[in-house]
Structure formats: structure tokens, C-alpha cells
Symmetry: C2
């Protein structure tokens, strides 16, 4: 059964993930050959700094000319773990044009140009797989694309960024402020020197775009994803959350509208009840809830980043793509036939926790309640606390559209008796 | 792109799962066609009671002659949701011989005869898929077989039977005894009139055999799985578990030995720490932990049974098998190349919680401790409680082989001062 001529793999990038991919390809060569039906051979490794010693990688395989490598013509699979838009996009395109299939871990590129790259892959009859782009080792793309292919997914709700979960978990468990928790994450290597992509939600938004696209068979681009970072979450927010029996997580939420005619995708901090399984996802772990018509609620949990877990996902894809190649077939490509409109954030319907600083005098609550009512936002609970002539008012609403809530807040700010809006946070997972 | 000639599906069995498969095939026909690349048509439904009215299924499709249906020659995919060994085995074999691929939810059959069925499928170039056989809607077979194909799985640890989890969860949360909790499960429809297959662990053992086979690329048959039911778990065991910060779950555990040279598979009740994610799996839900070299710890969670969830898994497989058919290819078949020996239970290494009724007099603890030491079982903690001239001794061991523990218990029973061994339970998930 075993073919003896090896399949040739070109590796683009040899950092934390790439070096682990190369290592496992060597140490587990026999297992990979058995599982694929043919041996796989590392045919070239494109790097930026060729002088760096890379244990286990023969020097003659190393090149700085990634373009020449993907255009060699004898490469069966290109593994792209460079990240970023360029040169990754051009290299992947060239790989397809020269007959290779591609395994990528590049969430930013796939969220921005996934449709175009899928089109090139299809034109050349090649595979584009990217399990590693979302939530590291956790199988998500394949379950959504294949296991749930006979079901109707209505919601994907997840923690897809380990850095921000580490920070929020730290704030929750120690009462630390944002900056203090971020500093610890940086010191421990969980946050990068420039943490913008993580804490501002760009990383999670790219993953949300990819997940929404696959879940709803609809093209969802990064620009379609509403995004709010978590830098403004305070220790006071965590105290408020605890009073409600909640914690705070940075969530990626992809939803089909109740009428089924449109979808939304968003990333923002939100309160979720402690009883929700996502509430107990600790440290840098990731977890994703998927709700479907027939299957009900599924959850997938695991390490969302790191060299080894990401390499595991890359290698799973590599095995699948190599098998397809031996079969002369391709796996499922882009599925965007549903082409549902992506609604703006204003149409999202959820609950809200609003904390107001108000004057401590009679009639304020009535004024505030009137503003909510005028905007069609129904109040679930109100809690009023006096302090030094001022008072704080914490309002939790029933479900309302984001647009209605925004209108409410704008009107509240104009009230003389409202000194300030201390925080607004969505409440999810109920 | 869309082929217009439909793929023909024969459905064997139209009970809770089968009727839901038929319903979704009808209501989601357009989506399925888009995802497959061709329409799928329900070409026949084999049932035992043809007179029963089945909403949404045209009477002319219904037949009692399942054999004739699978032998028609124009069937592309046979969906088998009858369960049991025969006639399912003969029907699936005939389906392959007459050109069909097969999607099955039949754990008992696959655990017993999976290798033979895979061989017939391969001989005829057809697919045998069975995601629905293990843990209902939870994607497990596909992630193990494909997503982790480039990784080395070391342990699969899971709750794979909803009935027993419902009973144990009830005992844990209410302090009820086994019979009381079972009666409630029966009244609510979670347990069958004859609950033997569930409570004696046969159902979970079949799933353990299937999971171990796929995880370790080794044939593991039902007979290879050590099995202990949960009918002897008592309210007192739950009190002991709580004192240790644990709860009790019926676990399916598939492990690679530390030296990598053999594997084990077993099903039994066990204590697990409350901090372990499996401890908080409530009611009839299922969850499976998978530990691999590169990916670390993954968890998959969801409804483990029921018509709709199981149908979701069947339909995911149906889409995959239909795509393969259109591609003229087959998906991954049996992978048993590693052919590792399956070790007997005696070689399993774990921790134990042993509760002894002993005479309340000096020297008893020394005697008991000596017996443990003589059998090479190291004690972690001992707790002694006196009551009315008798005493109970609760011993928790360090890791030891099951054979050593059995030898220890046998010797303990011979001590005059040991009045009885009240319970022995393994401690997992640490």
C-alpha cells in the first residue's frame, strides 16, 4: 500500500511553530508515512536569518529565497507559518500556481483574503487548509467544516485569544488592574512587547471572521467584525461582575439572526455567568462553544497557542492534504453559497450592564428609567448605591439592540443628573 | 459546479435517530446539496413495522426488506441506524459488496467487528464512517483520526455514557443512593427499562474500544476493554470522594504505557478531582479529554446521545462520504499499523482509594501499612475514624499497578483485624 516516492514539503518560516513542525516531521517520520500512505520529506526551509543554527534542520535545506522555493515545481505541500499579509499572500498564491497545496496558520491573511486565496486554490485544483489559524491545537475548522456539515450552526461563542484570557483571568482571581495584569503577562511571555494585536482584539477579530465564514457558509471579512479591545476593563468592572454572579471574558461571537436572514460577528469584553463553561476557562487556554440546530451545544477546549499545539494542528492538516494528493482529490474548499448579509453591530441583540455616576437626589432613578423606556430598552434590575452626595446606579437590561442601547446611553449623558457613564458591558452566555 | 443527478441514500432503521436523519435530509435538502456538490435523495427506508405512520416519509419508500434495499445496486450511501450485531453486520457487508459506502452509528458492531468491516470497505473501495457511534454529536472520531493525525495521542479520558453520568451526577448533587437515582433516570427517560448496557459499562466499553483503536492506530476489540459497572457505587463513596475534594464519574480510559510499547483500555467508576474539567460535566452530557504529545490537553464536550445530536453526526458523515464519492476517492480507512499489544488490567498504573472496616485497637494501622509495603504499594494518605469499637481506615495510595493493588487487597482481607473492605475506587485525572 505504501508509496515509496516521498511527498515534498516546503516550510516557509522556522520560528516557534515552524521549528516544531520540522522537528515532528523528523522524529515522527515513520508514523506520518503510515498515516499518509507515503513518506513526507522536508524539501526546503525558507528563513530570514540563514546564519541562525537550527537544530535538526540540515543546512543545505535552508534558503532565504522563499519565492524560488515555492516555485520549484516539485513541491507537493507548502506549509506557511510566516504570518502577516505579505510576503505570505504572494508566496501562497505562487505555491498554488506551481502545483502545491498549502497548509497555513495565518489568521490575519485568511481573515482578509481568504476568499481570493480559496479561489486560486480551486482554480489550480489544490487544497488550502488552516486549522492552526484559529485556537491553536483545538480542532475547530474541521469540526465546523466537516462534522457539522449536515447541521445548521446558529452561534459560535468563544475565547480565542490566550493572552487576553490570561490577563482577564489574573484580574479576576487577584483583583489586579489591567496594567498590572498585562505587565505580569508580558513578564511571563504570554503577551508580546507590543500587545496591541491581542488586547485591542485584532487577533480575536481575525479568528471570528474565519469562524463565522465557515459556520455560516458566508464570506465574512475582518472589516465585517465589530471589535472592542479589553484595555478599558477595570477592577471595578470585575467587582460588578462578581455581584452579578459573572466574570468577564473577551469573547468572539458569531451569530445567525433569529430570522436566519443575516449574521453578525463581533469581539468585545463581556460578562458571562460563572455557571457558563466558558467562565472556568483559565489562564491562556482557549475554548469555543458551538450551538447548532441538531447537535445542540458543543464545546471545544485546549491550548490556543504555542509552538507545539500549533504544530499539531499544522501536521494534522499536512496529513490530510497529503492524503488528498495521493487520492488525486481535494478536500472541502470555501463554502460561501449562503451569502448571507453581515449586519452591523447596531443590529446585534444582547443584554447590557451599565454603571452610571448620578446625583444622589430624589427623582434621578425615574429620569433614568424614562430614558431607557423611550429608547425601547427594558430594564431587568437596578441597583443604587449612595456615596458622598453622589450615587452610582447599576442597570442591567433585558435583550435590546445595540443601536437602542447606544441611543439610550447618548441620551443619558445629556441628563444633568448623570455625572458620567462609568462603564457599559454586554452580558452574554445566558 | 453542481451535479444534478442525485446521490441515493438508503436508510436502515427509522427510530429516534433514523427519523431525524430523514427529516433533516428533507428540510435541509438545499443546504446539503450545496455542501456536497450534488443533491441527495432518500431512496429507501428499511423498517420493521411498515404500518407505523412516519411523518414526512413517503410510504412508497418504506420497505421491510432491508437486504433487497442494500443490494439494489444504485444506492450510493447506506445509513445504518438499526444497532446491534445482526442483521446490521450482514447488511453493511452487503452494502459494500453492492457498491455503497456506509455511515453507521453502531458502536457495538464497530467495537466487535470494526476491523473486518473496514477490510470489506477497503476491498470494495468504499467508505465506512461512524462519528455517531461515539458520544453522539460530539466530533471525536474525525478529530482523532484527522486533526490529530500528525500528533501522538497518549491518553483518552472521557465520560461517554450519558445515562450513567446522569445517575452519578444525581447521586453527587442530592446524596441519593444508586437505586433511587436510577429510578429517577428511568422515569425521566434517561435510562432504558433494562439499563444493563449502560450501568454495567458495556456501552462505554464499546466506545472505549473504538476510541483506543483510532487513537493508538491499533486494533482494540471490546474483549480487550476492562469493564466495571457503576451499580456498586454508594452514597458513602460520594461522601468519601467529597472529603478528598473529588467526585465520582464512570470513565472510559485509553492509555499508552509510559514506555510507549503497549496500550490499555478500561471502563470503571473513578474519583476525579473537582478541579478537573470532567468533574463539572453535568446530567446526561458527555465529555472527552484527549492528551497528546504536541497538542497537550484538549477537551470535547456536548450531548452524547439523543435523536437530533446523533443525527447531526450521521449527517456530517453523510456529507463527507458523498463528497468522497463525487471525488472518486475514499477518506481515511482503518489505521492499525502500530499494532501495539493491549495489556491486561493488572498492568494499568493508577492511584486507589480504599476504605476498610477494621478493629479499633492499637497496631492495626501498622499491620495494614505493612501489607501495602509488602506489595510495593506506597501510601499517600491514611485517615482513621473510630465508631462504636470498630474503626474505618481510608487509604489513598500513590501510583501502583492494578495487580499490586489486587494482591494488597487480597492480603488485607486475610488479616484478622480487617473486618471488611468497604470499597475500592481508582483515582484518576490528577
Amino acid at each position: 500500500m505504501m508509496r515509496t516516492r516521498p511527498l515534498k514539503v516546503a516550510l516557509l518560516g522556522c520560528g516557534v511553530v515552524g521549528s516544531e513542525v520540522a522537528r515532528i516531521m523528523t522524529t515522527h517520520a515513520d508514523d506520518l508515512a503510515q498515516r499518509i500512505g507515503a513518506p513526507v520529506e522536508l524539501a526546503g526551509v525558507a528563513v530570514r536569518r540563514p546564519a541562525k543554527v537550527r537544530e535538526g534542520i540540515p543546512a543545505e535545506l535552508v534558503t532565504t529565497d522563499a519565492t524560488a522555493l515555492v516555485k520549484r515545481g516539485d513541491i507537493d505541500v507548502v506549509v506557511e507559518v510566516i504570518g502577516g499579509i505579505e510576503p505570505a499572500r504572494s508566496l501562497i498564491t505562487a505555491a498554488f500556481e506551481h502545483g502545491a497545496s498549502v497548509v497555513s496558520a495565518n489568521k490575519a491573511l485568511l481573515a482578509q483574503d481568504g476568499a481570493a486565496l480559496h479561489a486560486v486554490a480551486e482554480e489550480h485544483g489544490r487544497d488550502l487548509y488552516y486549522e492552526a489559524a484559529v485556537a491553536g491545537a483545538i480542532p475547530l475548522i474541521r469540526p465546523l467544516r466537516e462534522s457539522l456539515a449536515g447541521d445548521k450552526v446558529n452561534r459560535v461563542l468563544g475565547i480565542v485569544n490566550g493572552t487576553t484570557n490570561f490577563i482577564l483571568d489574573k484580574m479576576d482571581s487577584t483583583g489586579a488592574g489591567y496594567q498590572e495584569a498585562l505587565d505580569e503577562a508580558t513578564a511571563l511571555g504570554y503577551a508580546e512587547a507590543d500587545p496591541t494585536a491581542d488586547v485591542e482584539g485584532f487577533d480575536a477579530a481575525a479568528k471570528a471572521a474565519i469562524l463565522a465564514g465557515i459556520a455560516f457558509h458566508t464570506r465574512v471579512r475582518l472589516d465585517d467584525v465589530y471589535r472592542e479591545g479589553m484595555a478599558e476593563v477595570t477592577a471595578a468592572d470585575f467587582r460588578s461582575a462578581k455581584e452579578m454572579g459573572c466574570t468577564i471574558k473577551l469573547l468572539a461571537i458569531c451569530e445567525r439572526a433569529a430570522d436566519g436572514g443575516s449574521v453578525t460577528a463581533r469581539v468585545h469584553p463581556a460578562m458571562i455567568p460563572l455557571s457558563h463553561p466558558l467562565a472556568s476557562v483559565r489562564g491562556a487556554y482557549n475554548a469555543v462553544f458551538v450551538e447548532s440546530d441538531a447537535s445542540g451545544q458543543l464545546m471545544f477546549y485546549g491550548p490556543g497557542a504555542g509552538g507545539s499545539p500549533t504544530a499539531s494542528a499544522v501536521l494534522g492538516d499536512l496529513v490530510a492534504v497529503c492524503r488528498n494528493r495521493l487520492n488525486g482529490a481535494t478536500g472541502p474548499g470555501e463554502s460561501a453559497y449562503a451569502a448571507l448579509p453581515v449586519s452591523p453591530m447596531g443590529e446585534v441583540v444582547t443584554r447590557y450592564h451599565i454603571s452610571l455616576d448620578v446625583a444622589d437626589k430624589p427623582g434621578v432613578l425615574a429620569q433614568v428609567a424614562t430614558v431607557f423606556a423611550e429608547h425601547g430598552v427594558s430594564i431587568d434590575t437596578v441597583r443604587q448605591q449612595g456615596k458622598d452626595g453622589e450615587a452610582s446606579l447599576v442597570v442591567v437590561t433585558h435583550r435590546a439592540s445595540d443601536a437602542s442601547l447606544s441611543g439610550t446611553v447618548e441620551a443619558l449623558r445629556k441628563l444633568d443628573t448623570v455625572r458620567g457613564v462609568a462603564s457599559i458591558m454586554r452580558v452574554e452566555g445566558e
